[in-house]
């Protein structure tokens, strides 16, 4: 399938990534090769096959409703790029 600008724009938006003009050209080519590569799966007839959803060997892994594992606020904020000591800060979320 053809990978066009609209597809790249949509995917980048969903993934919160951006590309300049030359990067976009390069990524378009790469993505086209990659999609073409995985399209091979379409050759296989998988009618009636259940998609495999879990690799885990266990089921019913439930925990007790007991408080444990919390960390201090200092620890939580220790790697925050911008903080006032209480909150994580981000650029103001614009609301209409």
């Amino acid at each position: 399938m053809e990978v066009n600008d609209a597809l790249i724009d949509n995917l980048s938006n969903l993934a919160r990534l951006e590309f300049n003009a030359s990067e976009k050209e390069s990524i378009k080519k790469d993505l086209e090769k990659m999609i073409h590569f995985v399209e091979k799966l379409g050759e296989l007839d998988t009618t009636g096959v259940e998609p495999l959803l879990h690799m885990s060997p266990e089921i019913n892994v439930l925990r007790e409703d007991i408080p444990q594992g919390s960390v201090s606020r200092e620890a939580a904020l220790s790697c925050a790029p911008v903080t006032d000591g209480q909150y994580f800060e981000v650029p103001k979320v614009i609301r209409k």
């Binding site: 444990q68 594992g69 919390s70 606020r73 939580a76 800060e89 650029p91």
Partner: protein
Amino acid sequence: MTINYDAYEIVIGLEVHAQLLTRTKLFCGDSAAFGGEPNTHVSPITLGLPGSLPRLNGKAVEFAIKMGLTCHCEIERNNYFARKNYFYPDLPKGYQTSQHTTPVCKGGWVRIRTTAGERDIRLNRIHLEEDAGKSIHDVIPDATAIDLNRAGVPLIEIVTEPDLRSGDEAYAYLTELRKTLRYLDICDGNMEEGSMRCDANISVRLKGETRLGTKVEVKNLNSIRNVRRAIEIESRRLIELVATGQTVQQQTRSFDAAEGTTFALRTKEEANDYRYFTDPDLPPFQVTDAFLESIKASIPPLPEQLVQKYTRELQLPEYDARVICDDRDSAAYFEQLITHTTNYKAAANWLLGPVRSGLNEKSMDWKDLPVRPESLARLIRLVEEGGLSFSIAAERIFPVLMSEPHRDALEIATALNLIQSSDTSEIAAWIEQALAGMPDKVSEYKKGKKGLIGLFVGEVKKLSKGKADPKLTNQLLLEKLEN
């Protein structure tokens, strides 16, 4: 042009998010309690730190199924969680873990009662998901502050079919839903605090039309009253659009309670592609028969059942029964109270009268009522046996019990010298005193004005400071006056 609003039918579906009263979050052991200092109910899992993994809270599963069973839902036996992928600062992992695509409860209904009668509102589903953190816009200048205490708190999302037809029905539905959640003790249903949230999906169509009109989602509804208001306001706006030949845009709108309007937040074109896929970090959980049975057994008697019991078995008027059962805690108290007294009507009167007033006076909730049921039952018995009049008991004894609940009713009455006298000679003396004080009234009575007996009883009551047993007083007065 005049618009015939009555020609249109309003179609409403409600989505309610209820925060579960578990101790810990859905996927980790951080506290799920409301409030708390910002960013103190956090762990590597809540923070979405690299390498962190979820662990499912069994209690949350139980609560969700409890609600499902109560609402007559079909319980899904094989359960999964999916990732709903989108970016927002209060969503630490960049995805929400939710059962949106495979709900644990399907179908079901909630019975509502309005002035028009009873109706069953069908549910589409109930499913588990985790809450997001909070974005606060006005606490730091030029920035948005993020508090992750709420991130990961367990929610159940309860979605109706588009069965509701008016703001009143929506009001009734939310009231009933809230009552049920509180009865089950799985959510405290506080819309102002946000432990119960509601979004409304509204559309309009001409009456008789079977196809649904374009729907609009309305958010930011912070009380059951505001849900009704918003529906009334928004449905008018939609009818006006349709009636004047304009198109309704499918969009999300926010309700402005102060202005009494709704305004657009985002249109369909900006709707997100969430790319749901089954979360590989959470193995499936299967609901066995044994698990279902144990949950069923833990469901307490529900309002409808209790109303039936009170009206049929205890012979209470339906009105009384309904008021008592309106609040889970008042019903729970009443249930205990009637194990200590068989005077059910008196018990109901006490709850609906002096107890309710006493709670209101002190701005207390039913669950904080300090007077133990056995204690109140003893007070009721005292009145029953004639030792106290109802008014004395309610006005003088009960308030003392409220502030000093460890004391006994009889002890208080005795200490305050309020025990009614059944001593005929003592009462006779007061009667003498009373009648002596109003000879002209006595002659009027003897001439035929029998109604004055009430005046004499009242006077005896005053003279005796309420101690004279009214029934006995009445009896003795009649004996005396008729002779």
